[in-house]
């Protein structure tokens, strides 16, 4: 079974293909998309990275065995299982057919249409209208194909569905409003079914279909352009790319040969996503407790004899808080693999919180009789989820209790949850498996 690390930037639809494939196959995939593991625009320009991945582009995959791959489709293929790749020569070829279709027929017009609505590309009426027509063509081909079929190839989800659905994410989110998609009910049925499979959901979270076609916003676009003296406005839809200046200049300096125009714009958006929203923890005074150092201890040394004592020795109760979080709907937890996906999906969506948080979350019990609870450490005294819009997806499904760092109860819970062993008196179900957010 393949196992390794996927380098990417957050919310990269190309990386999603590989991440979803790994959800289906069970390949163990770590995603490195934020500091300190990986900083887009920096790490991928280092000689070490370039020697493994000469293009310096992401997504890029490095196996635990050292095996390296670039190109998102190759990575997704590698992380798939036979069911996803197709089991006959015909179905394998059909999978490639749809994967290529996504890249060459969907992505180009989708980018021309969607990017201006995100403010990352100048609007050109003629180009947009032409792109809309091309998207219609693509939709009717898919609609016809899916009239008699549930999934694109064979009877189950394959890599074809993963690739094509991911390449349509932006279309469905930004511009395919109900009236526009109305002639293509088969496509929407298929898309909705795909993105609601637990394996997709674990990676994508909730995908909300567009209600009103997003339009080009000249103001947003102007804000995104490099102007020395006007600081970029933090706008909701544009928050992903609210600070493109530095990066643009950097690019000019380097005089990099520009690849296809829309490609660069997408990358720009991604690069800009990095320095972006100001650090929600910035107002806090410096803390002597170095979370990363604790994480290193926790990952590399014995939990009970080293990591837990280290934690209590260095924990700074002014600068950090300890929380107990319990999943509110245990009766909805069915298969354990789905429950694990639920936990891992939450971790992935909280990716940017890693620097300021740590958690050990445990699934107790078995199929149809499980519960989920965990111990979370956050920077500051508040529940960190409310600090950023991006973090609020899951936290309402949990009940949260702030723990008193000096109480015996907390000492016991921290010990048991960090070590994944103990009585877990308040749970009443046996330990099944644990997951760490670090």
């Amino acid at each position: 079974m393949a196992a390794g690390t996927l380098y990417s930037y957050p919310e990269n639809w190309r990386a999603f293909k590989a991440q979803i494939a790994a959800q289906y196959s069970g390949a163990r995939l770590k995603v490195a998309s934020s500091a300190p593991a990986f900083t887009f625009g920096q790490t991928n320009r280092t000689p070490a990275f370039l020697s493994n991945f000469p293009l310096g582009k992401v997504p890029a995959f490095q196996g635990d065995d050292g095996f390296c791959l670039f190109e998102s489709n190759a990575i997704a293929h590698y992380l798939s299982n036979e069911a996803l790749r197709g089991s006959s020569p015909q179905s394998q070829a059909q999978v490639i057919q749809w994967v290529s279709f996504a890249d060459s027929e969907i992505i180009p017009p989708a980018s021309v249409w969607v990017f201006p609505t995100l403010g990352i590309m100048q609007y050109n009426k003629q180009a947009t209208e032409q792109a809309k027509e091309e998207v219609k063509k693509v939709l009717s081909v898919l609609n016809q194909h899916l009239n008699t079929r549930t999934f694109l190839v064979g009877d189950r989800v394959s890599l074809a569905d993963i690739s094509v659905a991911c390449s349509m994410l932006w279309l469905y989110r930004q511009v395919l409003e109900p009236a526009f998609r109305q002639p293509y009910p088969n496509v929407t049925r298929w898309f909705q079914t795909c993105v609601n499979q637990p394996q997709f959901k674990a990676v994508l979270g909730e995908v909300k279909l567009c209600e009103k076609m997003a339009q080009f916003d000249p103001k947003k676009f102007a804000d995104m352009q490099p102007k020395k003296d006007t600081p970029p406005k933090k706008e909701k839809a544009a928050k992903e790319m609210s600070k493109p200046q530095e990066k643009k200049e950097k690019k000019k300096e380097e005089k990099k040969a520009a690849p296809v125009e829309e490609e660069m714009d997408e990358c720009e958006a991604a690069l800009a996503a990095e320095p972006k929203t100001k650090d929600p923890f910035a107002h806090l005074p410096k803390s002597p407790f170095v979370l990363d150092e604790f994480k290193r201890k926790y990952s590399n040394e014995d939990t009970l004899t080293v990591a837990v004592p280290y934690f209590w020795e260095h924990f700074d109760k002014e600068g950090y808080s300890i929380w107990y979080g319990e999943y509110k709907y245990p009766q909805e937890l069915t298969m354990t693999f789905m429950s694990c996906n639920l936990i891992m999906g939450m971790f992935q969506r909280l990716d940017k919180l890693r620097k300021n948080g740590f958690a050990s979350v445990i699934l107790f019990g078995g199929n149809n009789e499980s519960s989920i609870s965990g111990i979370w450490i956050f920077r500051g005294q508040d529940l960190a989820f409310t600090l950023s819009d991006d973090w609020q997806i899951d936290y309402e499904s949990y009940s949260w209790r702030k723990l008193d760092p000096d109480s015996e109860e907390t000492k016991t819970m921290v010990k048991e949850y960090f070590a994944w062993e103990g009585d877990f008196k308040h749970v009443g179900k046996p330990f099944n498996q644990g997951k760490c957010f670090k």
């Binding site: 009239n147 008699t148 549930t150 009877d155 049925r189 909705q192 079914t193 499979q197 069915t334």
Partner: protein, 192 residues
């Protein structure tokens, strides 16, 4: 209770009860239940399957028994992934026993129409996952789909697509014949 051989529907009723029992045994296999249960039938026409368990009272009726089997197999996910979906599963199980079972010839079209429009924007009967409703509805409409012409199958394309998906779902088909479904349409043009 014996069925009198002169009962006008004797043949049919017997067939019907047998079907329900075969269906339950297929469901047991689909669920991976190792020990087959013992069933009998009851009612004037012997239509209602009964499960005599060694613990607790006897269960009667297809839906009750099927639901019980699903829980016995620890597959409550097949009853729906959320409260809302669980209600939808129950609704279609109800529909299956009250509308589909024993339906007259002239009732077939309205049933197919119902299902066809319902399935236009859905892959499964309830929610985004396969549930017990799909299995039992598939068992229930199998004889109807078997008898359909190619043209009928195209008219009710959403039912046909759903049916084909379910019959290929791992472990479901068991006692039933596969129905051949054409993916390329013969009668209707691509626009509809």
């Amino acid at each position: 209770m014996y069925l009198l051989p002169c009962h006008p529907f004797a043949q049919e009723v017997c067939e019907f009860a047998k079907m329900a029992l075969r269906e339950l045994s297929s469901l047991e296999k689909a669920l991976g239940l190792k020990k087959p249960n013992k069933y009998s039938t009851q009612g004037d026409n012997k239509q209602v399957p009964v499960l005599q368990s060694n613990s607790g009272p006897a269960l009667s009726g297809l839906v009750t028994i099927a639901t019980h089997l699903v829980k016995q197999a620890n597959r409550a996910d097949l009853l729906g992934e959320s409260a809302e979906h669980r209600a939808v599963v129950q609704q279609w199980l109800e529909y299956r026993v009250t509308k589909v079972d024993g339906c007259q010839k002239e009732e077939i079209k309205p049933i197919l129409k119902d299902l066809n429009s319902y399935l236009e924007d859905k892959v499964y009967l309830a929610g985004n996952q396969f549930t017990l409703a799909d299995t039992l509805m598939y068992y229930g409409v199998h004889h109807i789909i078997m008898d359909q012409s190619v043209q009928d199958k195209e008219t009710y394309v959403n039912v046909t697509r759903w049916f084909d998906h379910v019959q290929h779902y791992p472990g479901v088909r068991h006692h039933l014949h596969p129905v051949v479904i054409l993916k390329n349409r013969l009668y209707t043009s691509s626009h509809h």
